[in-house]
């Protein structure tokens, strides 16, 4: 597994879509004199070696042509780094920024945990957690997060989690495991001595993203239970791969003629996505991850080619730079295509939207949007 997660959560996380300034990526070496100019600081390379003889198909390249090629490679490498970070950030910052441009309160009011009041309540509770954070133990930080996630689930009429655990994870922020009705959260979230605004927004995103997955699975189970009045909880449990206790709750809340049509439609949609089209959708996720690994591998090769060129700028090393850059670009294009498919899977589309809206609710908490109170634990003494 790749080790992709930013180790210092909330500490200068690189944002998706932002310009990456050259640092370790600078083209520099014995034969190339690279001066950090304004142009470089903006992401460009500057090739100042007038002695290097680089030929392509018998023609000597100009300095400008070399610089252009180096710039192109730096851009590819920067983009590859952004792609790696798509796993640890549930919602790319550009998507949250898109919501931020809307008027506060103008965002969609979804059903379930996506209700504006629940999202605003969760965000408000995260502010309380943020204040308590430096004074409380790791276990109690987790208890606060778990309490608020379960409260949001309860408000959305979804069974509470059977398991909640902080784990060491490579490259991902969290997960929901329906078979154990478990929310796993990356331990790095809770290790910092403070919880920065960025990290708290990210926690809101992850918390509500995974809660949405729990809700989706439960709605799919309620839908399935409603298809046959005599169906047993055991049949529901094995069809949806959920614990018996959750299946029993689904049978007790099976969809019928009085079910809110919006909710019933979502239940059917989620059943189709998880069960009817489950294998196809899993393949999309698997293919997307394979594409991400190919980007990572191509990036490593590109960096090696760049280092070789820096050490010895010849026609051969230049040709290798071009080849490896082309390979990286191809891998990025393939990833972009598969990531788009992944984000269009019904359950991912919904979960990313809810996660982004939760992060937004935290960022806009000062606007004073109506929030459903998450309630206790509010007494600091319980968590010191």
């Amino acid at each position: 597994m790749l080790s992709l997660l930013r180790r210092n959560i909330g500490n200068s996380w690189r944002k998706y879509g932002t310009k990456v300034t050259p640092g370790a990526d600078d083209m520099s070496g014995e034969n190339l004199t690279l001066v950090r100019t304004k142009r470089q600081r903006q992401g460009g390379s500057e090739f100042t070696d007038n002695t290097a003889q680089i030929h392509v198909k018998g023609r000597k390249l100009t300095k400008a042509q070399i610089v252009k090629a180096l710039d192109a490679m730096n851009r590819s490498i920067a983009r590859a780094k952004e792609i790696e970070q798509l796993l640890d950030k549930k919602t790319p910052a550009v998507e949250i920024a898109r919501y931020m441009q809307q008027k506060p309160g103008a965002q969609p009011d979804l059903t379930g945990v996506g209700e504006k009041g629940i999202l605003a309540g969760f965000a408000a509770a995260m502010t309380r957690t943020q204040i308590l954070w430096p004074k409380i133990s790791l276990n109690n930080r987790l208890k606060l997060i778990e309490w608020d996630v379960n409260k949001a689930l309860k408000l959305a009429k979804v069974p509470n989690l059977c398991s909640f655990k902080a784990e060491k994870m490579d490259g991902v922020a969290g997960y929901f495991q329906s078979a154990l009705w478990k929310f796993g959260i990356n331990k790095d979230f809770v290790l910092g001595s403070t919880l920065s605004d960025d990290a708290a927004a990210e926690l809101c995103d992850t918390g509500m993203h995974e809660s949405r997955h729990a809700e989706q699975r439960f709605l799919a189970a309620c839908y399935y239970a409603g298809q046959n009045p005599k169906i047993s909880a055991y049949a529901v449990a094995q069809k949806l791969h959920i614990p018996i206790s959750i299946a029993q709750a689904a049978v007790a809340n099976k969809f019928n003629a009085t079910t809110n049509p919006k909710v019933a439609a979502r239940g059917k949609k989620m059943y189709d996505a998880f069960v009817t089209n489950g294998k196809d959708n899993q393949k999309i996720s698997d293919d997307c991850y394979s594409a991400l690994l190919k980007v990572k591998s191509a990036q490593i090769e590109a960096n090696k080619a760049k280092d070789a060129f820096n050490a010895n700028p010849t026609s051969a090393t230049y040709a290798d730079v071009k080849t490896k850059d082309d390979n990286l670009k191809k891998a990025i294009a393939e990833f972009d295509l598969s990531y788009k498919k992944y984000r269009n899977i019904e359950y991912e589309k919904e979960a990313h939207e809810v996660g982004a809206l939760a992060a937004l609710a935290f960022k806009q908490r000062s606007v004073g949007l109506p929030a459903i109170a998450m309630g206790p634990p509010s007494q600091e003494s319980r968590y010191d």
Binding site: N139, L142, C162, K165, V172, A179, K182, P243, Q282
Partner: protein
Amino acid sequence: MIDVILELFRFLSQDPLSVEDVISRVGRVVNDPGAPMPIELQPVLSGVRAANLDRYPDNGLPYALTIELAPGAIVTAAALQQAFGDYERLHTDLGHPPEIIFYPPAVGSRWTVAVIAKLESVAVSLDDQPVTSLSLRRDPVAP
């Protein structure tokens, strides 16, 4: 390793079974943050490098035991299939290793135990994949 897993499967199918019984069998408590967070155990079982025990939030009975296998303890999905029957792949999100689930017949009258295995990667056929961790989930049998 499969013997250890089969033994745990039978042990968790027992009734009655308390959290203390599981601790006595698997290993001492390292950290107990309270349900729904699992109890972290220091396993004394051969081939097991970490263990966590979840409890039913309402009655405190053992809910799921998760064990992480030591690097030398090799067991594949195919080996589990021989022991527990056919499996189904579970949905896993981007960046997570594949997981499979077995629903072996109940060996006791009160509890069934579902076996959930986390595999190494999607790179090759699931059958040949080594298991990295295993959760044994206890569900009450229908009355």
